[in-house]
Subunit: 267 residues, 2 copies
């Protein structure tokens, strides 16, 4: 079947966002990796509460909107979750379109349940707009599917260093374990993964400062891990046989110390 799209059609039509609170996934960082729905609601928003992790260029979608930074950034300043919940409920009573902009997907390791509970308790109308979670954006940047028909038909996303308990060639992607890398390696090896299992690490996925490194589980045990990565930048850790071929194309993690020193000196 072959056809030509009409030249007159510009883009699907949308109505203005209905009043309410929108939990919107900003995606991994790049401003154009938010969904069209997310960007359009940002343009309609009266007030936006955004995570400190959000890349600031994302806020260019807003126009004349009140912007409030909340949330945390790897160990630095954080608004308490309770206070964020209260701010959302208060804003819903004062403004028409309220946005809570969260990094990645709002429902993947984003503590959205607490915000949802607060909004439901206060009887506030709300919607959730999904976002590209970091694991998928990192896979796209790496050009490597985390699952393939031959090697793995299962993908596990986790924040727990030792939770991927299958050594049967399936793939695990770890979030928020940048300070527990040797724990990830130790546990996976203890659970039966080969010490030779490939690992890809990606920092600041989709942003201009993105860096990626490769190693094996065994190499992940070595070295002074906190010297590999920049302060406060999120890191995603991909583990599995599917990454074997990519490993040859990546900067070895062992060399990241050099990168790190150069970046430190420049900053």
């Amino acid at each position: 079947m072959e056809q030509i799209a009409p030249r007159t059609v510009k883009s699907p039509k949308f109505n203005r966002a209905l009043p309410g609170v929108y939990l919107i996934g900003a995606g991994p960082g790049a401003a154009d990796l938010i969904t069209v729905r997310g960007a359009r609601i940002l343009a309609d928003a009266d007030i936006v509460f955004y995570d400190a992790l959000i890349d600031i260029s994302m806020l260019a979608w807003c126009s004349g909107t009140k912007l409030v930074q909340v949330g945390k950034r790897c160990g630095a300043h954080s608004s308490s979750q309770h206070f964020i919940n209260k701010q959302l409920v208060d804003a819903a009573r004062k403004y028409s379109v309220v946005v809570r902009l969260k990094g990645g997907d709002p429902l993947i390791f984003g503590r959205a349940q607490e915000e949802i509970d607060a909004l439901e308790k206060a009887n506030v109308r709300y919607e959730i707009v999904p976002g590209i979670t970091t694991a998928l954006a990192a896979s796209a940047e790496l050009k490597q599917p985390p699952t393939t028909r031959e090697l793995s038909r299962t993908l596990t996303l986790t924040t727990l260093p030792g939770r991927c308990t299958h050594a049967d060639h399936k793939t695990a992607i770890f979030y928020m374990v940048r300070d527990q890398l040797s724990e990830v390696a130790t546990t996976l090896i203890a659970q039966g993964h080969s010490a030779d299992t490939p690992v890809c690490l990606m920092e600041s996925v989709s942003l201009p400062v993105q860096r990626s490194f490769g190693c094996t589980l065994n190499e992940l045990l070595l070295g002074d891990i906190q010297h590999h990565f920049l302060d406060r930048q999120p890191v995603v850790v991909m583990v599995g046989e599917v990454y074997r071929k990519k490993l040859q194309t990546l900067t070895p993690l062992i060399d990241s110390q050099i990168h790190f020193n150069v970046l430190q000196a420049a900053s």
Copy 2:
């Protein structure tokens, strides 16, 4: 920190797409759940090869673009993967911006590896644009995070009916198992999941025809499964303790037979 976005800024600026092949994730179905990057490249495309699963409204992003339907739709017509690979490589030699539009995320259970291999072998420049995978869109529609700090910090995505082997309250989301629902239930129960474990099923996620049902693993064993869902519509199956509260708000799967009969009669 509080600030106001400047009224003059409209949206971030982007350049025209560079020549090459783009594997773009269309997201779950709704035209505005594609990423901004994906929509902009579609607008620049000379030719688009799209999955039969893509909702046609998505193609409104294209203008004056050659549209070619490829791929398969739950057991119906399918172009062979080998033929799709060849079409992409041939198109890259003839056109500047070639798009391969795939449902969901291109790298999650999308057979992208075969297309990537073909493009690399032919030395064709290509990029991957991630998309909202169905599990995340279904979670947003359900307003239920698949992971919560209390009940589950691990999410497994799989196409294998029996692959989620942990009964420790973690969450599994199954793709492409609509014809193996009783196998999913049998295997999970045999692996130690309680027969009472909550299950949410969602058909045609994010589209106007979206329907969702709830049951327990035990109830998933009963009934004539192929009568629950419409032909060729994709179904996602979410299993885990996190869905316990939602279960009360969903139409019981056991009642879906009535819905099915009404829909059948109307078509």
